[in-house]
Symmetry: C2
Subunit: 191 residues, 2 copies
């Protein structure tokens, strides 16, 4: 492989990342409904069809943004859990970190957990960052607990429910802390 084609491949990878970043920034600034292929093409200063030489379609771009989000969320959760002294505090810490993430980056959260996605969850092909996120929840339960996987799923589901219902205005923004306190307290004994 020549030096020229190496450069080209490098440039191509850069552009690939530019598209993802542009999509993410646009979504975080104006919401996903404002992210159109035309506006994306404008931002990366290429014409519309080049997007389709990098991604199969708009959903694939959203999924790529989501994957970035999973890596960041995994990191965020891990830090919170490791800063906790014991398992009891870990659940609460991970919980707080998760809700922080969701409320600070609502568009990113949507790409990960709400919008139609091409990413496969809970399967053999599930990318590492997604596994890592889930494992953070699992780690909040005792290793000897045979059902910790299931418990983690349910706890995560509850957190997700609170997140999306409050984001869409279906439960009041007030009393969010009380809700979370209650949720954690109800799961504390199941660790």
């Amino acid at each position: 492989m020549s030096a020229v084609s190496e450069r080209r491949e490098r440039e191509r990878a850069q552009r690939h990342q530019m598209i993802i970043t542009a999509a993410r920034e646009l979504a975080e600034a104006e919401g996903w409904e404002a992210v159109t292929t035309r506006r994306l093409a404008d931002r990366v200063e290429y014409s519309q069809p080049v997007l389709y030489s990098h991604f199969n379609g708009k959903d694939a771009i959203v999924s790529a943004v989501a994957l970035e989000g999973f890596a960041e969320l995994a990191d965020h959760l891990r830090r919170a859990r490791e800063a906790a002294d014991d398992l009891g505090q870990a659940l609460r810490a991970v919980c707080g970190a998760y809700l922080d993430f969701a409320s600070e980056r609502p568009a990113l959260y949507q790409a990960m957990f709400v919008l139609p996605t091409e990413l496969r969850f809970a399967s053999d092909e599930t990318p590492a960052p997604m596994r890592a996120c889930f494992e953070e929840f699992v780690s909040c339960f005792r290793p000897e607990n045979k059902r910790r996987g299931l418990f983690a799923e349910v706890f995560w589901s509850a957190l997700h429910g609170i997140t999306v219902l409050s984001e869409s205005g279906r439960i009041p923004a007030a009393y969010q802390d009380e809700r979370v306190d209650f949720l954690v307290s109800q799961f504390a004994d199941a660790r």
Copy 2:
């Protein structure tokens, strides 16, 4: 008001309902992405613009369908709760009824709890059927429990989380019953 204009008003109300019903049927048969204003107009055998003399836009139609759903869900939940012997079984019964509803009418559920809606939740103008749904959850907790409103919100959120994550394939379809059993057991002592 003449008899003629009375008839016209009656016909108008019928057409109003036809639009809602058509939207609902189309959504339940092919999903909301297949519900377009043109296909709706076709179904009710009028031209597109008449939809806009009944509703402010597509979102308003979705919201009207959702409101029908709330009435049905309230009824469904109430029956389940009243068939239960005590409060302990009530929580589990309402829970089962809720998940039944969600899995049997996924499109209707989406209109109610996922899609952007014009309906106001948890406010003074919240329509009665929506209040009724929420009250069914509240009624699963003891009347003397001062925080039953908050508890109901959290329990409902958890159920919703399980519903949407499993509907979108983000948690496996299997083990759903185990998840629900676990959830109910964790909230049983908080009644």
